[in-house]
Amino acid sequence: MSIPSIERKRDYQLASAHQRQSFKNGIQLTAQYILLLIFAVCFLIPFFWLVSESLKKPSELFEVPMLWWPKSPQWSNFTLMFSSFPFLLYLKNTMMLVIPTMIGSIVSNALVAYGFSRLEWKYREQVFVIVLITMILPFQVTMIPLFLLFKELHWVNTYLPLTVPHFFGNPFFIFLLRQFLLGIPKELSFSARIDGANEFQIFYRIVMPLAKPVLTTVAIFAFLHTWNDFIGPLIYLSDNHMYTLSLGAQQIMGTLDPKWNILMALGVTMTLPVLVLFFIMQKYFIQGITMSGMKG
């Protein structure tokens, strides 16, 4: 008689411990959720602010206390962007850098990564270590001699210093592509070789079509880097007809009447395409960043 009663008691204790545990878990989950939401709102406020400022009248920008939202949104700021800022010219200039950089990055890094992954040769891994080392070489070390070199070549104030180097491989992209190419079964290359295909045909017809996802990642990163770059154009472009959107925006900041609301409208216009690209291509972004961090 006594044994079942002890069992019942233990059952009861277990159940109540379980209940207490799940109650505690519930509170913990709610707390975590609220914390995340608070941080998320903090992260979104700057975006909201960018839009709000871009719709203000010049006088509203300086109002104290600040206005969370303009009284009557000035959508005309976005049309003013075309008349008071050479938007289309700078957009065209930016694309003159973006397109060659994307092409150069895809072609050169695909070739190089292929050589480092799909072909067997002595000392391959040792040579690849050099690729990894150049990845951490600070930009500042090469900045001055390259500037002087391009100056000798009369390339300063042209787009060549900002595009040509992208046709000669980028260690980060080589690493990214190599990781992917190593995962494609070798048998595909073997059977193509037996069928009489040469190495370039295997590269172009068989391996590259399979590598489309990672090539897309490279293309996106190359686009993003060039679209956002400011230091490169600052060093090499002195003629204001050559400016990119980023450099143009920065140069206007330094003038007497920067027209901040127009600059904010420009900010919205420059950020929007990148966000749209991100939402369409999210998978490729995340894949690229994850692979860069998970070397081991």
Binding site: P46, G169, E199, Q250, T271
Partner: protein, 295 residues
């Protein structure tokens, strides 16, 4: 036998053809500049006149330049506090975002990543306004909870913390890497820890952080090296002011090169930067080996 040798030779020839763009690129855009940079660091070179060999003069005058020390100290401040806070924050958010019991996380994940997509010039313009003393968003929010906020970028003692706030806002890339690292940790470890009665905090300290340490190390190295190379934001927002409080190492270097045209002097700074980067990497790789043994 002969044929196999031919295959080997053919593969080697093909490989060299495939990697030839990289070979040329490394020689012209990496190796040559590294060597040239060392040569220039031993010269007085103003671009207008040809370089004049001066031996170690540039290094000697660097060690007597108060601005060199100030820019180094500013950068170390960011390297220590900026890196520590950013790392702690990114891990916190990553751990919270990795909780499979919470709903709607894929949307929140996107939210934390978005700031990394904004062009740097736009980040600069935007944050100048967010950090305004009297009508900026941050001080307005602080005033709602009764705090009288500082002048941020205009105040020498708050200018660097302002940049740390920006670093936190831009830490989405590191978060993604941490989340990927967290997903590698087997779920069963947490299940057995939960059976043993370990709570969230206990699980984080005894399972998550130790197993995440290689990823943390990678991110810290990347972050510290980025801090040493970082100068676009201060150039846009403060140009080193107020009172040189945001004159960071690479901004100082850039100014010497492209504003004062002291190419020799700036090259000497670049070589010191290279040495610092190598030392940091070496130290952290040593640490990595230690951590690796523990695992």
């Amino acid at each position: 036998m002969n044929k196999r040798l031919n295959i080997k030779q053919r593969d080697l020839r093909n490989a060299m053809l495939f990697i030839s763009p990289w070979i040329v690129g490394t020689l012209v855009f990496k190796l040559y500049p590294i060597l040239a940079s060392f040569y220039y660091s031993l010269t007085d070179y103003s671009v207008v006149n040809p370089p004049v060999y001066v031996g170690l003069d540039n290094y000697a005058s660097l060690f007597h330049d108060p601005l060199f020390y100030q820019s180094l100290a500013n950068t170390l401040y960011m390297g220590v506090f900026g890196t520590a806070l950013t790392t702690a924050f990114a891990i916190l958010i990553a751990v919270l975002l990795n909780n499979r019991k919470l709903k709607g996380l894929s949307f929140l994940r996107v939210v934390f990543f978005l700031p990394t997509l904004v062009p740097v010039v736009i980040i600069g313009i935007l944050w100048i306004w967010l950090l305004q003393a009297d009508n900026g968003v941050i001080n307005t929010l602080l005033s709602y909870i009764g705090i009288d906020g500082p002048a941020w970028l205009a105040d020498p003692s708050w200018a660097k913390p302002s940049f740390i706030l920006m670093m936190l806002w831009s830490s989405g890339g590191a978060m993604i890497i941490y989340i990927a690292g967290l997903q590698e940790i087997p779920e069963s470890l947490y299940e057995s820890a939960a059976i043993d009665g370990a709570g969230f905090l206990r699980q984080t300290l005894s399972i998550t952080l130790p197993l995440l340490s290689p990823v943390i190390l990678f991110n810290v190295v990347t972050l510290v090296i980025n801090v040493f190379q970082w100068f676009a934001e201060p150039l846009i927002m403060t140009s080193g002011g107020p009172d040189n409080a945001t004159l960071f190492y690479s901004l100082n270097l850039f100014r010497n090169a492209f504003q004062y045209f002291k190419m020799g002097y700036a090259s000497a700074m670049a070589w010191i930067l290279l040495l610092i980067a190598m030392v940091i990497i070496l130290i952290l790789f040593k640490l990595n080996k230690k951590f690796g043994h523990i695992e």
